[in-house]
Symmetry: C2
Subunit: 478 residues, 2 copies
């Protein structure tokens, strides 16, 4: 009966992946829609995932020497215009404040789409000497980019994110930081979100407005689409020159510092949903799951059952995030409910289990049922959580591998693009014309990145046949 | 020599309290100014205080059953207008977005000055039955109120805060929540910020736009001024009626739920500065201090000194926030620097100390020096931190008591208001005319609150001589 209910609840992912996604975010109570253009309400269960993400990532940033700061949310138009490429990239998608209090403003203020310009203005004030470097700052905040079509977590006008902004004495040091933070993201995706990903450099066409180089982490979703999961930019001294940020070096000459920025956002929750979910709903990786274990009492009206459930909770809660559901709904309803919510491990405890000093653990990924002794319940649950993490990453890795194709000819590329959703590895000459052509011909397959590890597939560009410079991973994206 | 330096650094608080405040926030590197109207940059040291405040308060909110959510930062004008008193209170101080992307918007959007209206819109969607109640939500976010005159932390156009918004079945339950959260704030001020405060109810004139009752926590600053340190509002079912939020009750009839909201902000950092600081700079209460102990190596070039300093740090860092300053500046400069930054305890360690297996601890509040054995350094430092907390609260309590006056006649009230900065306890008839008159006559002394514990000072209003209804605490405010 529980099974039937599940099937009713949401669209199957194979039938309509987009509708499945929409169903899941609503049914799992991650978001609600609002009357505000392109903005979402993140409900407690969704926000708790974000809090767990923040806590984990923030510790990684601090362990690598970064400090948090807070900049204003508004950017005067003249400040945004200081760096030419940057304003061209962002001004078209800004929300503009033109009235403050009762008065029309003399200058428009953009709600920050990103904060490079604000950080630069501040850095100009506080950097004078090489002794002031490096500056390793990060900010957790909301940003806004006016979007026409929106989808919860994946593309919303307002979203929550972190943006690291750092300043360094030398180009080498800044480049090293750029790559280091990309690896922090890669590790976080792998170890906390259980999502493997390709990392590499964006092409000129796809890089960030104002950057010299943009690096990206590109996980694959269940349906073969890519999600740009995070980016890390090397700016050289371009912004420093535009904003006149200088410092006196060790050799007593005046120099420009070198800059980076890097960010990930609530979009990661979209990645979790689409990398791990199934037809029963969400599957949240244990490291960021708001509830890691849900305890469902069976025949809870019987004497001792609820007491035992709460005793087990008390034991587990010392190290884990645990909930007992003693509500009036049926156990079948509860099973479906916490499957929908993607709780990694379910613990069932009833009168017979108590007699046997045991309980049942069920993995959300495999559905495997395991009878375990209550004597070492903490170890058993912890082990199953670890197994869930490993199963998730293996499943995602298998999906990535099975949906990554190699194209050595133009025809092959178009055939794969049309018939096989996934990543395509193919050689590229380095010209934007070929990127544009492939995108047009395929209706949206774009270069994801030049991966750090390139295969040599052939000598020539898959599009124009000229000498190839790089292997590129291509794919459709959210 | 260190003493001389300190005197140079900042204006004395007795000479010019306002300038002292400005000097401290800059010299202690809490904030920087920006080119954005009325917005401040919160620097790492200032933001770290906020992070500690958030962590502590958030745990208190969760322990009382609250969940965090995130609402959009923009409010359509029509939504803001749904509750009449509310829009009158806030619309005049909103920043308005009128252009999104390239297009003029058909409806203006306010950057949230507070989020009652957004929560109500959401509650309308998710509350149907008494089973959906209570809803105990909180949000950590930025808000904006267009201010003419600004001062870091105390009054800025943008500030960071938390706003609790809860919905309940009955008026009694909502009223209980309102008072409960005020006490959470009171406990936090006392136990974490070491700031005693008066709590009570705002008069009709001073209550929040749209509330039935507003409660407040009013700590006293060093100079006798009040700071509205946090508020908790009971809304009755007013917003619920305006937003058509209903639920089916236990008796199967349709009812309006009862609502509260409550908030504290980065303004609390202003309270810390002005309640505890002295002519040497900040004093940060240990519970929220970014650095609780700074270790200053003396004669650090001598063999073993830095090693020992770092060994002590490793020991202390297991439970405390510790920094070793091994920079090239003189120890005198360092002493002044960390006094300015308000680090509660300084630990000095030099060659002779190491020979004696001891070190020196210095309290930031009393300047007391204590030679302690390294054998139980964790206990000694922990004990001194506790002593610092107690000394801070005792000092603040003494300041509050010595600057709280009683006025039983109009003349006495005006005399105190003119000559003795502080709080004035005086009887009041309950009429807004008397509040207005006293404010006008004194150039700004306002009712702070009707405290929960009222003294009976006389039978008549200190202003008009009519029968008194309440004892009110009056004072000038930031």
């Amino acid at each position: 009966m529980a099974k039937e209910k599940k099937v009713e609840q949401i669209t199957s992912m194979d039938v309509d992946f987009g509708q499945w996604y929409t169903d899941v975010v609503k049914k799992a109570e991650l978001v609600d829609y609002s009357s505000v253009h392109g903005c979402m309400i993140i409900r407690p269960y969704g926000y708790a995932i974000w809090e767990n993400i923040q806590k984990d990532l923030d510790a990684r940033f601090k362990a690598t020497g970064h400090e948090n700061v807070y900049m204003p949310m508004l950017i005067p138009e003249s400040l945004l215009q200081k760096e030419k490429d940057h304003v061209e990239g962002f001004a078209p998608e800004c929300a503009w404040v033109t009235v403050g209090g009762q008065n029309k403003l003399s200058e428009r203020l953009a709600i920050r789409p990103t904060s490079e310009t604000l950080f630069c203005e501040h850095y100009r004030n506080i950097i004078q000497s090489y002794r002031d470097l490096p500056k390793l700052y990060n900010q957790w905040c909301n940003v806004m980019r006016w979007e026409k079509t929106t989808r919860p977590f994946l593309r919303t006008s307002e979203f929550l994110w972190q943006e690291g902004h750092t300043m360094h004495e030398t180009a080498e040091e800044a480049q090293e930081e750029t790559i280091k933070m990309l690896h922090v993201y890669r590790d976080f995706y792998r170890d906390a979100l259980a999502i493997p990903a390709i990392i590499g450099q964006k092409t000129e066409k796809e890089k960030f407005a104002g950057a010299e180089a943009t690096y990206t982490i590109e996980p694959m979703m269940h349906n073969g689409y890519a999600l740009q999961g995070g980016t890390s930019h090397y700016f050289g001294d371009g912004f420093a020159r535009s904003f006149d940020i200088t410092y006196t070096g060790r050799d007593n000459t005046v120099k420009y510092p070198h800059q980076t920025s890097w960010g990930v956002s609530t979009r990661m929750i979209g990645a979790i949903i689409m990398a791990h979910g199934d037809d029963n709903g969400l599957i949240i990786p244990p490291a960021v799951a708001p509830i890691q274990v849900v305890i469902i009492p069976v025949a809870q009206h019987k004497e001792g059952v609820l007491d035992k459930a709460y005793a087990i909770k008390a034991e587990l809660a010392k190290t884990l995030r645990v909930k007992v559901d003693d509500g009036e709904q049926s156990t079948g309803w509860k099973f479906s409910q916490y499957e929908m919510k993607g709780v990694p491990v379910r613990l069932e405890i009833g009168p017979r289990d108590i007699e046997n000093n045991s309980c049942v653990l069920v993995s959300r990924v495999t559905g495997e049922k395991k009878f375990v002794s209550l004597d070492n319940i903490v170890e058993e649950v912890t082990a199953m959580l670890k197994a869930v993490h490993n199963e998730l990453i293996e499943k995602a890795q298998a999906n990535l591998e099975s949906k990554t194709y190699v194209a050595t000819t133009h025809e092959e590329f178009l055939d794969i693009a049309q018939n096989k959703p996934g990543f395509i590895k193919a050689m590229w000459c380095g010209d934007v014309e070929c990127e544009d052509q492939l995108k047009d011909e395929t209706g949206g397959v774009k270069s994801r990145c030049i991966p750090f590890v390139e295969d040599h597939l052939s000598d020539v560009c898959v599009c124009c046949g000229k000498k190839a410079k790089h292997m590129v991973v291509w794919g459709r994206q959210y």
